[in-house]
Amino acid sequence: MDVADDAIRCDACPVLCYIKPGRTGSCDRYANADGQLVRLDPHVLLERAVSRGETLVPFLEKAAREWDGNLLGGEDTFVTAIGAGTTYPDYKPAPFIISSEVAGVDMVTVVTEGIFSYCGVKLKIDTDRHLGAECSTVRAQGEAVGHVTTNEYGSQMLSLGGVRHLTGGSRHEGTATCDALLNLCNGNQVELRIDGGATIIVQADKAPIIDGVREERMRVGCGSATIGMFAKQWFGKVDEVVVVDDHITGVLSEHQAGKLLGVSETGIKMKGRRSTPGRYFRVAEPGTSWGGTNIDDPLSILGDFDREVARPGLRLLMVSTTGEHYAYFELDDALHPAERELPTALQESVARIRENCEPALCTVLFMGGAGGSLRAGVTENPVKLTHSVRDALTRVTCGGAPTYVWPGGGITIMADVSRMPINAFGYVPTPALVAPIEFSLKLSDYQALGGYMDHVQPLNSIQRAEKSRRRLGARLDNPWPLASESGGK
């Protein structure tokens, strides 16, 4: 391999491609990854013994030490399904059924890449901005790929994919859905457009970009919760605080928190619908400005102050739930709020709100149903695998990452894609997503559920076939898939 500028010369064949960083050669099999010539389609093994402090370090094949059976013993190597191949057309035993000894117990891991027609991602977008009405269609490349679902605390949830978009619509809808899912699951950026709402750019474990603006932080809480959290810090420094929030706007003097502290009435009149004292719904329309509303002028959500109660010089702080927007007013002689500079004593509380807002992220959970014919690659009596998973005798992992198995029928799993090795997902033109899935259980339990005992191979039989394997350091924040208790090391 010969290096010129940032491109590298691949010497895997006589075409001798110059490959730019991040690109592949003409064969699509070799690539330039940060100046290193890498083969793209290896089978991934996770190694627990190596990699300290760093996650997912490619293990250099050329620099590999002499194989040492102790160091790479069964306890510390886990064979993932990434690049393993599939069981299609399903009655074949899984490509790898690996036995290893862990803490004196014979374990087996059934390793396969599942072809998921029934799958999708649940996307959590940390924002209070209005992305679109619930049930609105979410589009990628102009095609419907999912919908807006619930608004959770500080986050908007989207549901993308699912069998109806993948296989139930037009061909282009299916391929656009598959593309969007594949990119999200492999940690790439995807642009989504929500009908009647925002255009967003999302990527696992990165801040969302909403209508071109990067979301910096989550709100500290709803408006009412913010009043509760900071009431004591405001007491005595300001007469009235309004925390503007699209969901529940809080008003200090009327809120239970203010009452308990003895905050006097201020004569403030809020627009919107009063819920309980000091808590208002719908003070404005949803939007991407103050506290997830559409207002740029905070005074637009106030009516005239009550002349019987209010007095000139009354101090009013208005702040959004992220501390991103704030304004300070004092009532003039006509009892109209006049904007003034934020006093030093209050700057601290606004900064405190900001400080309490966590960085806004997009998180991507892959969700798929492994309760179908894939099970036939594990056992000849598929329902026994389902029961074994349900009874927690079999642990399910995706590329070594932990999964949540939904209660109820089937094997419906969710996994955080950012805890898997990169590019763990593939696709088939059906279209469907190809996701790694591993089932780990005691060898004796495997035998009891009717496993393919004659296909069980010892771990070291595949460790020796180095050529097409790739070793990665296991992520320290993932529980070790073969550990008897969760919690990793």
């Binding site: 006589p14 110059y18 490959i19 037009s170 061909r171 149903g369 469907a432």
Partner: protein
């Protein structure tokens, strides 16, 4: 460690898989088993040096073709040059535009000149050369996106039809395209001719300077690309039905003139869900009623 020229029988025991660097071929011969064995042995002998021969003239083959210019010496390289020469005075084209089809033809010829076969095909990454005798025929499925194998149309080639080559080009494929076609599939008398024509027609399916089309100089993606600084398509955003129609129309015009000059027999042009056909031969399976995908496989 170099992994050169892998030649092996696929698990079905019938098809041969050839792999060397960027060349990836699946072929199959039909006829008397002894003849098939002779044919496969001939392929193995011929294939072993194909990539080395091409690479020895690679610099020349990456230069624009020129009618009165020097000719390459290798037989695959000569097929490539001959296939692109009809276009040399009209537009920029290098012999590389026909490399896949030319390799397929060369490998096919190694079989048909040594063995008596009823029929045979050599599929070099979607560019196919085939051989037919007597009453034999091939049914060929077509895809709209070289990255996905979803069949949208089929064509049947009988022995008395002169077509012996099929090629597909589009911006989604492994090679770069100057146009925005998802796929242009061409049927011609030879695979190299089909390959060159598919490239030319796919380049013509275009909306010049359209803001939704992202283009990047080829050399920024692959430092040694024969397309040098030419802008190649990297993504195509949303297009209106009229824009899709206009882009396809531009390709149709070129395809019709190639058909009149006898360079192609049939071409099927696909952009988004729209497919247009020049010439006969192709029956579109889903042009009228788009059949929803049936999941062949379920987890």
């Amino acid at each position: 460690m170099k992994e050169r020229a892998q030649i092996c029988l696929l698990p079905d025991g019938r098809r041969l898989h050839l792999h060397d660097g960027p060349i990836d071929i699946i072929l199959e011969a039909f006829g008397d088993p002894r003849e098939i064995e002779v044919a496969y042995r001939a392929v193995a002998a011929r294939f072993a040096t194909v990539l080395d021969e091409l690479c020895s003239e690679l610099a020349f083959l990456r230069q624009p073709a020129c009618v009165d210019g020097p000719q390459p010496s290798g037989s695959v390289a000569r097929r490539m040059t001959a296939a692109v020469l009809p276009y040399a005075h009209l537009t920029f084209i290098t012999p590389m535009a026909a490399v896949a089809g030319a390799v397929a033809e060369e490998v096919l010829e190694a079989m048909t000149t040594t063995a008596e076969l009823s029929r045979a095909y050599v599929n070099n990454g979607g560019d196919i050369a085939f051989h037919l005798t007597k009453t034999e025929r091939f049914v060929i499925g077509m895809v709209e996106d070289p990255g996905r194998s979803s069949i949208f149309g089929t064509t049947t080639i009988h022995c008395d039809n002169p077509i012996r080559g099929v090629a597909t080009s589009g911006w989604r494929g492994r090679s770069f395209s100057l146009g925005i076609a998802d796929a242009v599939t061409v049927l011609s008398d030879t695979a190299a001719a089909a390959d060159a024509a598919a490239t030319i027609i796919a380049n013509a399916v275009d909306l010049p300077a359209h803001p939704a089309v992202r283009r990047v100089p080829a050399c920024e993606l692959a430092a040694d690309s024969d397309l040098a600084g030419r802008l190649v398509t990297q993504s195509v955003g949303e297009l209106t039905p009229k824009e899709i129609h206009d882009a396809l129309e531009a390709g149709i015009t070129v395809a019709q003139s190639l058909k009149q000059s006898g360079l192609i027999r049939t071409a099927a042009l696909t952009l988004r869900q729209a497919t247009r056909v020049v010439g006969s031969q192709v029956s579109l399976e889903s042009s009228k009623t788009p059949t929803p995908y049936r999941g062949m496989v379920h987890a």
